[in-house]
Symmetry: C2
Subunit: 152 residues, 2 copies
Amino acid sequence: MELDSTDRLLLNLLQENALLTVREMAEKVHLSITPVHDRIKKLENQGIIEKYVALVNRKRIGRAMMVYCFVTLDKQRREGFQEFNEAIRQLPEILECSVVSGNFDYLLKIVVADMEAYNTFYQSKLSVLSSVSHMSSSFVMEEVKSTTLLNL
Amino acid sequence: MELDSTDRLLLNLLQENALLTVREMAEKVHLSITPVHDRIKKLENQGIIEKYVALVNRKRIGRAMMVYCFVTLDKQRREGFQEFNEAIRQLPEILECSVVSGNFDYLLKIVVADMEAYNTFYQSKLSVLSSVSHMSSSFVMEEVKSTTLLNL
DNA sequence: GTTGAAACCGGTTGTCT
DNA sequence: AGACAACCGGTTTCAAC
């Protein structure tokens, strides 16, 4: 259950490059292939490693616009949160959605092609959601940092 | 340069599971192994596929707390933005950082173990940054959706 | 774009210490 | 838990169509 320093190093390595061979990782952690193989399988089976994915450059596939959207729900409608959550999960333009503390209820991260596409998306998919009381959009002008690495 | 429907399908598949074999993908797109292999190499060489990574479950490695932090810089100091950007890139707790439009300058996504760890991080790493004029933290209470998939 | 062949390499398993 | 060896399956490149 507990992760030792070798497990943590393996997790860091795989979070940077999932295509490393077991041999390469074995060299870096100063072990032979077998224990490294077993450790990785264990991390996968424990659900610590959730999945292996390819990361795509959004600008090179014509998705230059990223927007954060702050949402406040109408608190009178008690079923509103479940409805809203389910609607959000169906929209592929929304990459992340969290319930947050503070001046609003949700923070959404949205990726679309351009401002026109965002306007269409906002008008036809977001603003039509019942139970929404207020929304405010903040446009990303520069991505200073973006990583999936949880440094161990 | 242009992506056809086969390329887009391959990108969707690899964004969901980077460990698919070429044979498996070939079956799904109804082509033989050779052209699928060539297409994937081309997507990699074009930088459309940026990298392959393992995604780690943050709660299972003791990183239960996620925080969004809104930052406003002191506009009097013209070099402040470059200084701030570089400082942010050095902090592994900060997974994402964007310059945004609206009532503040930056939006940060931060992952730490718990509230105590966030307090320590905030006091010793964030609030000490010169050029920061104002900061506000919003705590994630529930992650409704979180994906890296750019749906094509 | 398809097929088939060949060389190579990495994953996987069993067995040993 | 780690090391070694053998097997299997995938990748990669090539040639021919």
